[in-house]
Symmetry: C2
Subunit: 188 residues, 2 copies
């Protein structure tokens, strides 16, 4: 039997999502996920730390892409505009993934443990963004506050995208949310 | 033996903080906390759900006080100004508690589980604030985004207060952080 397993990671994520939706996250085991994907448990653990992390693969890469885009924004850009460049970069990575994301968010919404995990990932994203802004020479507390504002726009924009009946693009919703945040916190 | 135990809850929190700092959070048991406080385990569980929640007592009351202050802000106040009124109200509740908060934050910083718990409590605070803003007639997404901005100012302001060598007031730091957030996200 060949050890070549094309897209094993993706097949495991798909199998996990199916099982979590069918039976619930708590009730599903790694053995069942591997079996549904036609793979071994050993292969599962080569790709994912546990049955929780299978839903959060790519978080680190997303934080790195966000930080890289912010670092590479034009030097003349204001901190909040550099954050906007970063938001566009990560939104692009979600192109064509709305259906998958909707199923994933439904599973996360149903589990307190998974909702907590998502908060941790968002906090890590805010930390990476803060570091990227400091790297652009932004002083504290502006770096932390601009990063938190950017993550707020991402969080709210993401939720609006998932709920959008018109199946739009994430970038549309993160941009609109950042615009609305700036209007809401404006000096009036 | 009298069953009257003045400030049992506060004694348990104090004992827990001492033990977490001395031995580490993971290594401390509820039995040890109760013994240090001169109380029984049964009394511990009358006041706190577990050894984690002993550090987060008052979170719900804080969220309620925040929401109440936002609801009672002048009807003419812009959403972000109503949030500022709420921030002042919760900052007032921390008057004279800096030394306690510093010890508590040191314990939380040393434990991934406790850091996660703090994120959950902050997210609950943002939810309560969103509901309070909607109650003032603020539409979405402005309600969620203004709430997230307010919590960002609280989070960053709180950290700056804890780190402040001059032992200042929390309200000073939350106000300054909200001001800096508004400047950083301003339309420029």
């Amino acid at each position: 039997m060949s050890r070549w397993q094309p897209d094993a990671s993706g097949r495991l994520v798909k199998a996990a999502l199916e099982l979590y939706a069918e039976r619930g996250y708590e009730q599903t085991t790694v053995a069942e996920i591997a079996a549904r994907a036609g793979l071994t448990e050993r292969t599962f653990f080569r790709h994912h730390a546990d049955k929780r992390e299978v839903l959060f693969g790519g978080s680190r890469e997303m934080a790195e892409a966000f930080a890289a885009a912010v670092a590479e924004a034009p030097g003349s850009a204001a901190p909040i505009d550099a954050v906007a460049v970063g938001l566009d970069a990560i939104a692009e990575g979600f192109t064509g993934r709305l259906e998958f994301v909707r199923r994933r968010q439904a599973v996360i919404a149903a589990s307190a443990e998974l909702r907590e995990r998502e908060l941790v990932k968002l906090a890590s994203l805010a930390d990476a963004l803060t570091v990227a802004l400091r790297g652009r020479g932004v002083a504290e507390p502006a770096a932390s506050l601009t990063a938190e504002a950017g993550i707020a726009a991402f969080k709210v924009g993401f939720a609006r995208w998932v709920a959008d009946p018109d199946d739009g693009e994430l970038a549309h919703w993160t941009r609109d949310s950042l615009r609305a945040l700036r209007a809401a916190t404006g000096e009036g």
